[in-house]
Symmetry: C2
Subunit: 154 residues, 2 copies
DNA sequence: GATAGTAGACAACTTAGTTGTCGATATCGT
DNA sequence: ACGATATCGACAACTAAGTTGTCTACTATC
């Protein structure tokens, strides 16, 4: 039995973990067993038009070296390609492949399914209250960058 | 703007991160700048009567080797001591020092303060709804072990 | 054209975990 | 009593994801 006060962080961490585990269990069932938690967030950051490694690092809140590693992983799985930037000979543009798009669409669908499970168990009103409450707390301190949260993504 | 469905995990992660950051900012102000996020959870797991390294590993959900490393860190800061187990010549019992107890009491007080901040901003009812909702989701899949959540604790 | 800044690669290090192995000690069944 | 089996905690080697620092190539600006 924890000291009072220790409950809330454990609940938040546990629920997050539960969502991510559920996502990757289902992703694996649909042929995306190699996907790691960071991949979905990185693919989102890359966006439909593609960005450079340095920009990816900034958006994720990590160094460009760390972003380069993540990009290498994404490229190896086949979720992105690298192509020379038309306007800047130093830069390479990371672009999502159709398979990357598919993984992202699938992830969104799975998250929505998991949310529906919550609604079934808690009711729409309480799920909405959770989302609104957390949003009020988080947005008041600036947006959350994935890189703010070190290691999880394993 | 993320795809719909990606909101919820980001909210959970961001809120958790916010709590932990707030905790350690205040801990540092009170002379516990060396404390890492895992330390509070490990001290809780050790309990008032002390446990062995192996038991700590089981409670945290990590290997005993990893638990031994955490215990070494706690001992170095002065939060725990190791003493031979009276009944088992193989085992050493990890016991919280007064300074360890102080850190734990302080952490609990800070968490409660942060929760009061939430109540001030959201109202008691909505905070309660968040806690109840998350608890309903997490407990239905077994308790959360700290070790279920790999890296964060840096 | 010199100077200052940015893109991305390479190397070395850090941190927190893992598996596998091992000797010492406990426990249990016959 | 004793042998098989299990557990405690240490050591070594490895992995994964980040970090800082340094470097070259290229861009942009005065």
């Amino acid at each position: 039995m924890p000291r009072p006060g220790f409950e809330l962080p454990l609940l938040l961490a546990g629920t997050f973990r539960e969502l991510i585990d559920g996502l990757h269990a289902q992703l694996a069932e649909h042929g995306h067993g190699q996907a790691r938690p960071i991949h979905g967030f990185a693919l989102q950051a890359i966006g439909p038009d593609g960005i450079t490694v340095s920009e990816l690092g900034r958006r994720l809140g990590v160094t460009k070296q760390a972003a380069a590693k993540t990009a290498a992983g994404l490229e190896q799985i086949g979720y992105i390609t690298r192509r020379p930037s038309p306007g800047d000979a130093r830069a390479a543009v990371l672009t999502r492949t159709p398979r990357g798009e598919e993984m992202l669409d699938l992830s969104a669908a799975i998250f929505e399914q998991l949310r529906r499970d919550w609604v079934r168990r808690l009711g729409a009103q309480q799920v909405q209250a959770i989302e609104d409450g957390l949003a009020a707390i988080v947005t008041s301190s600036g947006g959350t960058k994935i890189g703010d949260l070190p290691g999880w993504l394993r």
